[in-house]
Amino acid sequence: MLEIKGLHVSVQGSVILNGLDLTVPEGEVHAIMGPNGSGKSTLSYTMAGREGYVATDGQILYRGVNLLKMSPEDRAREGMFMAFQYPVEIPGVSVLYFLKAALNAHRKHRGEKEVDAIEFLKLARSNADTLGMDHEMLNRQVNMGFSGGEKKRCEILQMAILQPQLLVLDETDSGLDIDALKVVAKGVNNLRSENRTILLITHYQRLLSHVVPDKVHVLSGGRIVASGGKDLALTLERKGYAEFSTEAA
């Protein structure tokens, strides 16, 4: 279970999150929707532990442990994964090498034996096949020269290999054509399970037609201002965020 309690976050001195409360039970998919500037990205970066996002108050408890007290790498090793809105290019480092280093860091953390290069190659290839990715992509430098769709596929590949328990998708649907959107949705749906918690952070409802959430929350002015079932997303799509923005103000 993920529990965010009274979270206040400042970025460069401005208060962005202002007492955010949220509970996502194990096995559920929740969507957080909100207008631009409502604090969506701040929430995901704070969860991942990015420098410069200062939690001045509150907690982010995952399975009872406060993530805010952990380094970004330890959060990941404890099962958290954030899919980036803009995946970062890593020059000179191949997808294969990058993923193997990540997987082995996880395994070492769990006290498991590291996978060797051959074993890992098999694992990576079979996951690439499932996602309809060319094996050649595994040898390319991480995200270098990738199209928007390829970058998102690469994020999904990482998820499939690292098998995170807490998944945060930060506007993963932005800039995707319909085919890429379906690949992303399929990748996320494949990971839906009883012991996994998934948080979809999005501006638009279109991803939610493919990954149907158990609950939808509206983020505005740095807090959750409304929560409801999956239909809330459709209402937002129709009416926009205006009524929630005024409420927040």
Binding site: E51, S71, V88, I90, G92, F98, A101, A102
Partner: protein, 438 residues
Amino acid sequence: MTLLDDYAEEFLSVASHLPGYERNWLNEHRQASLQIFLENGIPTPQLESWKYTNLHVLGQRALPLASTECLHVDRKSLKPFLPEGLGERTLVFVNGWFRCDLSDDMDGAEETVTSLASALHEGQLDSHVLLGSPAPEPERALHSLNSAFMTDGAVIRFAKGKQSEGPYHLVFVTAPGADAAATHPRNIVIAERDSVAEIVETHVGLDEGAYWSNSYTSIFLESGSHVRHHRFQGDSLLAHHIGTTLVEIGTGAKYEGFTVSIGGKLARHEISAHLTGTDAGCDLTGIYLGYCSQHIDNTVQIHHLAPHGRSRQVYRGVLDGEARGVFQGKVVVAPDAQGVDAHQLNQNLILSSSAEIDTKPELEINANDVKCTHGATVGALDEEALFYMQSRGISRGTATDMLIDGFINELCRESLSPVLSEWLGSMFASWMMKRHEQ
């Protein structure tokens, strides 16, 4: 007595032991070279090309030739410097002299391979043509010192139209106990018309000695030949290393140089390339890694003397601790060298606030139809990339190493065979370990 008197005296005491002493022309060549050195002395920062590299330590006292007595070097101690799978064409030089017992047997090689000492002794090099005339410029005073004191090295002639099978590996080792002593190795490589040649040149020390290695390699590319030259410098962190590569590239010939500098308290590698024929190519790649208070200088001079030449320089450096890097890249295009295409790029990763780089591109273009570009970047590790990797569970330390590795290994993968690439990879990995220990 002054430093220069000491060098004059040292020369008198060793001259009769230097190879080719019995040949008058060579003695004259050595003496003329010594004279030029004595007139100029050790280069100082007042000279433009030595502006960023101060040799005052070398100017304090004359360093005698390294001894050849009681050297405990065996093939096993050289193992880290002999990449597996490179083939059996290794020539080992210890303290500046060829060691037959540590080298592979060269009988039966297609190429003419000999040590400089025996070539001079047996009169195979019967004039100074291949040694070059002593250069009068003060900037080149250390070449003159090498010409005066040169002991040994490799002389390799790649036969016309032949493709060499695998690289020759020239390994220059300074043995333990060579503190405050100098070596002056000299290599001569001739690639005859349309030949294809490959050489690996390695300079290392077997202990952390405060020696000085002053090496000089001349490479002559006749028309249509292709030479790949990989140079690895991993000398002691207390040593001075001054290395010069002089290249002459004929019509339609191509020189590919790959230079790696990770050793030396103070190290400088200077490449001076002359593209003398039309359609000549010169492709230089450099990697330098420095930590502690290392000073690593890469100086390049490319002289386009004929039309339609192509040159490319890509140098990447990583500097940590209080290390200082220097990159000086000069491209000179002669008045009638039209249609020249010259590119230069120097990129630096600075890992600490006390590390620094002086990077100086210099273009001197005297023709009107040319394409010349240059660029330099200096930056820290990309925080976004580090965070991205951390968010996948990779520790910040490992992520840092992976980014550094990516930055330098990209060049290796592009330019080297898997054997060399892997060998250098292991050298870089041990550099990375030492960096962490600091």
